[in-house]
């Protein structure tokens, strides 16, 4: 159980990577952008992949009536996410510590994992909602109003995961370093649960 608790203490620390590395990355390449434009989505805001990328993405998107990309102060999420992640790290380490001292059972490890997974799914849902709004809530006075072959207005929601062709752009959306670190950390806690469970069984 001591070993399992140590693993449980280490796992949540990987989530601290989210304060340094982006959670998600969206790249936009086109014939006239051989070096693609890119945005990194951090838990506290959206940043350039290369300097001026956001400005240039906004510049291009205004033709089709998309809003400019949100600044940190434009979305409550960018204020809240860091608090939630910070809180979860603290909680995870605390559970590990209490496990180490024999105050809580290994089941708490799974509890933390489930809570984190729920929060993660909620976060993804919220992120997707924003992308839907970003890609479909278009300015009625847009310079270019494009329609699908069936006559419905064309929308520009970036994919949540993977690749999509949008007008002349190839858009690729994938988890980035921060997300992979979070995933690794969460796997640690699952592992901690199993190690705890095994040691319980062998006793």
């Amino acid at each position: 159980m001591k070993k399992a608790s140590l693993i449980m203490m280490i796992g949540p620390l990987f989530l601290l990577g989210l304060f340094a590395f982006p959670l998600w990355n969206i790249m936009l390449g086109a014939p006239q952008y051989p070096e693609p434009l890119g945005m990194n989505i951090h838990i506290d805001g959206i940043r350039d992949m290369n300097e001026f990328d956001l400005q240039n993405i906004d510049g291009l998107n205004h033709y089709i009536g998309m809003k400019t990309l949100p600044k940190p102060e434009d979305m409550w999420e960018f204020g809240t996410f860091p608090l939630v992640i910070g809180g979860m790290v603290a909680l995870g380490v605390l559970i590990g510590l209490l496990g180490f001292m024999g105050k809580v059972s290994y089941k708490w490890f799974m509890g933390w994992f489930v809570l984190m997974s729920v929060l993660g799914i909620l976060g993804m849902y919220d992120f997707n909602e924003w992308m839907v709004d970003y890609g479909t809530n278009l300015d009625p006075h847009a310079i270019m109003k494009l329609a699908n072959p069936d006559g419905t207005p064309m929308t520009y929601k970036p994919p949540l995961f993977g690749h999509a062709k949008m007008l002349n752009f190839d858009v690729t959306s994938l988890p980035s370093t921060g997300a992979w670190m979070m995933f690794t950390g969460m796997m640690f806690t699952v592992f901690a649960f199993f190690v705890g469970w095994k040691s319980q069984k062998s006793e």
Partner: protein
């Protein structure tokens, strides 16, 4: 008279050789396997990039052109000494000062010899320098912005031809006068030239951090013509070598009268000794008046300072500083091999090349073995300094470069060929025809300690039938030879712009990674910049109207302006707010008595418009900047001079 006969013989021989050339087209076309092999060598597939940059002087275009090797594709024309309506260089208020001289605004020059900056004798790719021949000037061009940053005028000089060559740590860029002139200039009979005119060799320091030029001193030499020059390197670092002609000091019918002496000189100048002399207070300050023009890519503005004094050095007062090396037949090119040991005089009215030895020169100087003097300057004995003679069999050698493998390549103007020969043994290894009448040639890094001996580019003076005809006037032609093998291989022809007199090349990776993509708007310190659209405005000061305008795809802010009157002087100060690579905007307005502006991302440029007619006049963006480029336009309402309509401006309402 012996000399004159020789010249005639040479001319006849050249006619015969030219006729001989007509029979072979020299493109390898007779052997199709070879031709397709050559095609592969120069083919740079779509989307691929060239291996080398080549900077070819524009000659009478006054500018510098940038090419890729081996494709021969032209990438850019960099305006230097000539107005360039394409970008507004020399027309915009910011760049007009770059063309100021003591003769006023001089919108043209004859640009000859580019040279890339060096550190320890190797190309470092910070700057490229080029000389203006006609109204003596030296320009420094940034190799991150590829724009002219500085131009300094050279006083006491005329026909600034033995320029702009740099020392191996870019300590100096050197500018020698081709025409000797009275110093100071004065009203005197032309036929009193001999003994009275002076030839100034100017040493201009280059500040290591920002490249700033300063004319440190001028060596006042006898009144010969100083034709070309090159720095010593390695062991001969500290010396500079200049070819001379017209040591007869003739002042008329020069083609005959300046070709009488069997030998002219290469002047060897020990600039380190002179630098020391000057540091210790030597030299004489004389009044002068010359322009120093500096462009800042922060203020995006050029400024002119008139300098009023120059330090001159009489070489006779600096013992050991200057010697003459007798060199046959009006030498043109003066080239130093990568080791710094050999100094090559390309006797342009001769069949042979004369190679001097630096070690022998030093020994002769130390042994004081002089063969008389000219105006007090010691002449070394020809035999004492001679390393060897290249008996080429060609006619009219002009210029030599090196491949770093112990070989030299010399152009022969009269016999239209490139000759490859071996340093040390002086044997001719190969010769290939050029089409036609080749002037200079260039091997990337060929004027440094470390040449990149893969290609040689020959720059020809006569084009004739090489391309589809375009009437009497046509571009000059260059040819690329593959020199990676024992024998040279002519692999490509390409037209050049203006008349390239020389070129400088370097590996692409030296420059491509640091080439600037945009100017940062947050670093724009232009006096009249509009840094945010809400600062766009129109201000009147008397009859001067300043329009602070910004651009972004695809509109001007403001785009409707009223309250302008006939007789106003309207300044359009336009700031491009794009921060995206390769998104310039242009500006032009009907009836503008100047060129358009082409404004790079983050830049501010100014154009003056003096409306002469009442009306509503459009302006528009000249650069196809986006799908809505055609919509990028605006109107200025011009009212009668007597009207009292208030200034107003707007966008989108």
């Amino acid at each position: 008279m012996k000399k004159y006969n020789y010249f005639i013989t040479a001319l006849i021989a050249s006619v015969l050789l030219l006729a001989g050339c007509g029979n072979q087209n020299g493109n390898g076309g007779s052997n199709s396997a070879l031709a397709s092999n050559n095609a592969e060598k120069v083919y740079v597939a779509p989307g691929e990039q060239d291996e080398f940059y080549a900077f070819l002087s524009g000659g009478y275009s006054g500018n510098l052109t940038v090419y890729g090797l081996p494709s021969g594709r032209m990438f850019k024309e960099i305006p230097v000494f000539s107005q360039f309506p394409t970008s507004g260089y020399g027309y915009s208020e910011e760049t007009k000062p770059m063309l100021n001289t003591s003769f006023g605004f001089v919108p043209w020059d004859d640009a000859h010899h580019p040279d890339i900056s060096q550190t320890n004798g190797e190309l470092d790719g910070r700057w490229i320098f080029i000389n203006g021949n006609n109204t003596p000037r030296i320009a420094r061009i940034s190799l991150s912005t590829f724009e002219t940053e500085e131009i300094i005028e050279i006083p006491n000089s005329a026909g600034n031809h033995s320029s702009s060559f740099i020392t191996e740590n870019t300590e100096y860029v050197v500018a020698g006068t081709r025409f000797s002139v009275p110093v100071p200039q004065r009203d005197m009979p032309i036929n009193e030239y001999k003994g009275n005119f002076k030839g100034a060799l100017s040493f201009i320091s280059v500040a290591p951090d920002n490249g700033r030029l300063n004319l440190e001193f001028q060596v006042m030499m006898p009144g010969f013509n100083y034709d070309l020059s090159h720095p010593g390197r390695g062991k001969s670092h500290g010396w500079f070598f200049f070819t001379t002609y017209n040591t007869e000091e003739a002042n008329s019918l020069m083609e005959v009268n300046s070709s009488q002496n069997d030998k002219d000189f290469i002047a060897a100048v020990n600039w380190k000794i002179i630098e020391e002399y000057v540091k210790n207070g030597g030299g004489k300050k004389m009044p002068a008046n010359y322009a120093h023009n500096v462009y800042s890519d922060e203020t995006h503005t050029g400024t002119t300072t008139m300098k009023k004094e120059v330090l001159t050095v009489d070489p006779l007062e600096v013992p050991g500083a200057v010697f003459f090396l007798p060199t046959p037949k009006s030498p043109h090119g003066c080239d130093v091999d990568p080791s710094g040991q050999y100094i090559i005089g390309n006797g342009k009215l001769s069949a042979d090349l004369t190679v001097h030895s630096f070690d022998k020169m030093i020994a002769a100087i130390e042994g004081k073995k002089f063969d008389g003097e000219a105006y007090g300057i010691p002449i070394l004995k020809f035999e004492d300094v001679l390393a060897g003679t290249v008996k080429s069999g060609g006619l009219g050698p002009l210029h030599t470069e090196f491949d770093g493998e112990g070989n030299a390549y010399t152009t022969f103007f009269i016999s239209s060929e490139v000759v490859k020969w071996k340093l040390g043994t002086w044997e001719v290894i190969d010769r290939k025809p050029t089409f036609y009448s080749v002037g200079h040639l260039m091997i990337p890094g060929g004027n440094s300690r470390k040449p990149f001996g893969k290609y040689v580019v020959a720059m020809n003076k006569i084009t004739k039938d090489r391309y589809l005809p375009t009437g009497p006037e046509m571009e000059h032609s260059a040819q690329i030879y593959d020199i990676s093998g024992e024998k040279m291989e002519l692999i490509y022809d390409f037209p050049t712009h203006g008349e390239p007199h020389y070129a400088a090349g370097c590996p692409a990776e030296l420059l491509a990674p640091k080439s600037k993509k945009i100017y940062r708007l947050d670093e724009n310190k232009h006096e009249f910049a509009t840094l945010t659209p809400d600062k766009a405005r129109v201000e009147r000061i008397g009859n001067e109207v300043h329009i602070y305008m910004s651009t972004i795809r695809s509109h001007f802010t403001p785009d409707n302006i009223e309250g302008i009157k006939v007789g106003d002087k309207v300044y359009f100060h336009i700031t491009n707010h794009e921060q995206d690579f390769d998104v310039p905007h242009g500006f032009s307005i009907i009836g503008q008595n100047t060129s358009e502006l082409l404004i790079m991302p983050g830049q501010t440029k100014t154009s003056i418009w003096e409306p002469k007619k009442v009306g509503v006049w459009p302006f528009y963006c000249t650069d196809f900047c986006s799908a809505l480029h055609q919509e990028m336009q605006g109107y200025v309402r011009v009212s009668p001079a007597s009207s009292n309509i208030e200034l107003s401006w707007s966008l989108g309402d």
